[in-house]
Amino acid sequence: MVEPVLSVADLSVRIAGLHILQGVSFEVAPTGVTVLLGRNGVGKTTTLRAIVGLTPRGGEVRGSVRMGARSLLARPTHRLVRDGLGYVPEDRCVFAALTVAENLRLAERRGVTPAYDKVFALFPELERRGRQRAGSLSGGQQQMLAIGRVLLNDNRLLLVDEPTKGLAPKVVTEVAEVLERVAESVPVLLVEQNLAVVRRLATDAVVLSAGKVAWTGDAQELLLETALTKSLLGVGSAEVHS
Amino acid sequence: MTEVKSAEAPAPPAAVPDELTPGRARWHGLRPYLPLVALVVAAILPYSTLHLPGIFEGPLNSPGTLQLLAICLVFGGLAAGYDLLFGRTGMLSFGHALYFAAGVYGTDILVTKAGLPLWQAGVLTVIGGTTLAALLGAVALRTVGIAFAMVTLAFAQVGAILVARDFGGLTGGEEGLPLDVSGLPSALVGVTNTVNLYWLALAYLAIVVLVVHRVSGSPTGRVLAGLRDDERRIGVLGLDPYRFKLVAFTLAGGLASAGGVVYVLIVGGASPHITSSELTLSLLVMVVLGGPGTRWGPVLGGVLYMYLDHRLTAFGSSEAVNSLPAFLSHPLSQPLFVLGTVFILAVYFFPGGLASLRSRLAPLLTAIRRSR
C-alpha cells in the first residue's frame, strides 16, 4: 500500500461535554478523493475541523492526526494551512463584506505566486465578478469562491466540507466537475451527502456512525452494495438506489 | 462569529452557589454555624487590644483601626450585594455606584438639609434608592450584554453630573456635604464611639450576606442562577427573565443604598468620589478578586480591596518604600499603581478569586499531609 497523505488514529473529540467523535481512525490516500460519509450530525464536520485545528473553544481533542511524518494536532491552524492543508468549510464562510477580489487576495501568501490563472480557468465567473461583494453572490458562486481561494496556493491535501449543500442541481454538477479536475493534482478528503456526487468523484470511502468509523474501503464498492449503504447511511438514501 | 457582538454578555465565570449544592458530609453538622461564629468573633473584636504591627496602625480597639475596619466591612457588604448582580445573575452593570451614592447623598441631604431624624432619613433613602434602581433597571434591562453595561454606566454618569452640578446647593458639588451630626444619636458621634459605627457596619454586612444567602437559596435565587446559565431557557420554562432580572437589580440597588446610609455615618459626609464610575469598577475588582458567585469571596474581596486602598497610602509613604531607588519608590507610593498591579496579577494567577484558593491549595495540602 502506498503511504497515505493523512492518517487519523483514534481521534476523539468532546465539545461542551458531548462526546462527538469516539475514537475515529482512517487514512487518506495520496491520490483521488476520499469521501467521508455518514448521517447528519455524526461528526463529519467535527472531524474535518479537528484536523485543521478549528475545534471550538472549550473543545477537547485526543488521538493523533499525521500528515506524512508530521503530527498536526496542537499546531496552530494557520501553520497547517501554510504547510499545504487546504480547507473549504461547510458553510462556505466567504467574507460577506469583502469583494470577490478581496476574498481571493486574502488567500494570497507572501513569497508565493498565486495561481490566479488556474482559478479563473476553473471559475471564470470569479474573474468577472471581482468587484462584487461576496455577500451578494448566489450560494453556488459563493461555493466557487470558497474553493477558488483555497486553490490559489499549492496544497498537499484539500479538506472540503459538503461543497454541494444547498446548491441547485446544475451548480452541483459544475462543482463536481471542478472537484474532479482539482483531484487530478491534489488528494481530497470530501464530506458529501449527495450520493450522485460521491459516485462520480469518490475513490475511497469512510463511513462514520455514532462517532465511530463504521466502514472503510472502496467507494464504488460501497455504493454497489445496497444493503450496506442502507444500513450505514440510513434508510432513505438506500431506498434512493434500490 | 458573525453575530452582533453587543448581544453577547461576557459571562462571569460560573460557580456553583454553595446553597444549591450539597456540602460535604463531614461539614454538614458544623457548617451552618460557621458564619455565626465568625459574626460573634467579629462582634467581640473591639474588646481586644491585640496589636498587629504593620497590619493596623494601632491596637484592634483603637478608633483608627475600628474606623478602617468599618469601612472595609461596608464595602464587603457592597461587594456581596453587587455580586448578586454580577456573580449570581450574570449581569454586568457598570453603574452600581449610583445606588450607593443615592444612599450616601440621600441620607446626608435628608439629615443635613431637611433636618429629618436619622431613622426617617435612612428609611426614606433606602426606599428612594430601591425605587430608583427599579425605575432605571426597568429601562436598562431592555438591553443585554455590553449594551446593558453601557446604559447603566450612562445612568451612573448622569448621577455623577447631577452631584457635581450641585443643584440648589444640595450636594455641595466637588466639596461634598459634611453630615450634620447635631440631630444624630450621640452614640454614633465622636471618635470614642467609633466602635458603634463598627458594629453598625458589621450589622450591615451580616444583613447583606444573610439577604444574599437567603435570596440565592430561595426559589427566586434558583431562577437567578438559571438566568446566569441560560436566559433563553428560563423564558421557555415559562418564567419572565426580565422580571427576575429586575428584581435582582432592584434588590441589589436597595442593598447598595442601605450601604450608603451606613457609610455616610461612618465617614461623616458625602463626597463626589463615590459617584464615579471608578467605584463601580472597583466593585467589579473586589468581586473578581474574591470570587464571583461564592458566598464569602465577594465579602473578602471587598474587605481586602478597601483595606489595601486605605493602607497603601501609608505603605506608599513608609520608610521602606522611600528608601528604594526612585524608579521603584515613585510608582510604589501611588496606591492605585499597587492596587492595579495586584489586580492584574490576581486575574492571572487566581482566576477564581480568593474563594478558589482553598480548592487550589487542596492538592498541595493533601500532598503535605501524605508526606508526613
Partner: protein, 296 residues
C-alpha cells in the same frame, strides 16, 4: 450666524478629538473583542512622550519640523506601549474575554498612577507651535487653529484608516477578521499578528489624540485620557462597535450636540444630552448605528 459657524467648527474639533480616541477603541473591540479600559493610558503615553521628546529628543521641539518629530515620537511610543500590552497582557488570555477586560481595568488604574508618579499630578504646559494658539477667521467666526488641526488630523486619520482597511493586505485581514476570525486562520493567516497590529494602530491613534489633545488643551496631565475615555466609549457604542465610519458619525453627533446644548441650554446639559443620546440609541438599536462591520 457666526455663532453657529463657530459652534459648529469647534464642535467638530471636539468631535475630531473623540474620534481619534474612539477609532482605535472601536477597531480593537471589533477584531479582538476587548473592551479596552487601558486606552486612556495609551493616550497619556502619547501625550507625555510628545511632551518629553520636545524637551529632550535632539531635533525635536515645539515648532515646525521639531514639533512633527516630537509628535511622531509620541505616536510611536503610544503604539509601542499598546503592542507591549497586547503581547504581554492580552495575548496570554486569548479567548478569555472577561479576563481581558479586567486586565485592562487594572492597567488603567495602574497606568495613570504610574504617569502621575513619574510626572506629577499637575498639568504641564504642552510644547506647541505658535500658530496653534492663534485663530482663523471663518465667516466671521474666530475658530481656534488647534481645533482646525484636530479636524484635519481626524480627517486624515479617518482617510488613512479607511485606505489602510481597504487597500492594504493587513486592512483586508482586519476587515475579514472582524467578520469571521476563525475563517481567516483557515486561510493560513496568523490572526494574532493582526490583533497586535490593531492594538498598535489603536495605540497610535490614541497617542496622536493625546499629542494633539495636548496642543488643544495647552497642557498635559495624567488624568486627561480618563476623562476623554468616557466620551470615547459613548461614541464607540453609539457608532456600533468595530465600525470606524460609525465612530466618525457618532463622534460628530456627540461633539455637535455637546457644543450646541452647552451654548443654548444651561451648563452641564450638554453632557446629559450625550448620555441621553446613548441610552436612546441603545434602546432602539442595541447594536449601535452601524452594526458590526469594519467598514471601508
Amino acid at each position: 450666524m457666526n455663532t453657529v459657524v463657530l459652534l459648529t467648527l469647534t464642535g467638530l474639533g471636539l468631535a475630531a478629538l473623540y474620534f481619534l480616541v474612539a477609532s482605535g477603541l472601536s477597531l480593537v473591540f471589533g477584531l479582538a473583542d476587548v473592551l479596552n479600559f487601558a486606552h486612556g493610558l495609551f493616550l497619556g503615553v502619547g501625550a507625555y512622550a510628545t511632551w518629553w521628546a520636545s524637551g529632550n529628543l535632539p531635533g525635536a521641539g515645539p515648532d515646525g519640523f521639531g514639533f512633527v518629530l516630537a509628535v511622531v515620537f509620541g505616536v510611536l511610543a503610544g503604539s509601542l506601549v499598546a503592542v507591549l500590552v497586547e503581547l504581554v497582557l492580552i495575548r496570554p488570555l486569548y479567548s478569555r474575554t472577561i479576563e481581558q477586560v479586567l486586565v485592562t481595568v487594572g492597567l488603567s488604574l495602574a497606568g495613570v498612577a504610574l504617569l502621575q508618579a513619574t510626572w506629577g499630578a499637575d498639568p504641564r504646559p504642552f510644547p506647541r507651535p505658535d500658530w496653534s494658539r492663534g485663530v482663523t477667521s471663518v465667516l466671521g467666526a474666530q475658530v481656534p487653529n488647534a481645533g482646525l488641526l484636530l479636524i484635519v488630523a481626524a480627517a486624515v486619520v479617518l482617510g488613512a484608516l479607511l485606505a489602510f482597511l481597504r487597500w492594504t493586505r493587513y486592512g483586508l485581514i482586519i476587515r475579514a477578521g472582524v467578520e469571521n476570525r476563525e475563517m481567516v486562520t483557515a486561510l493560513g493567516i496568523d490572526v494574532r499578528k493582526a490583533f497586535t497590529l490593531v492594538f498598535a494602530i489603536g495605540g497610535a491613534a490614541a497617542a496622536l489624540a493625546g499629542a494633539l489633545g495636548g496642543v488643544y488643551f495647552g497642557t498635559v496631565s495624567p488624568g486627561q485620557g480618563g476623562s476623554l475615555l468616557i466620551f470615547a466609549f459613548i461614541v464607540v457604542v453609539i457608532g456600533g462597535m468595530g465600525s470606524v465610519v460609525g465612530s466618525a458619525y457618532a463622534a460628530v453627533a456627540v461633539g455637535l450636540l455637546q457644543q450646541f446644548v452647552n451654548y443654548y441650554g444651561t451648563s452641564g446639559l450638554g453632557d446629559l444630552c450625550v448620555v441621553g443620546l446613548l441610552a436612546v440609541v441603545l434602546l432602539l438599536r442595541p447594536q449601535g448605528l452601524a452594526g458590526k462591520v469594519a467598514h471601508a
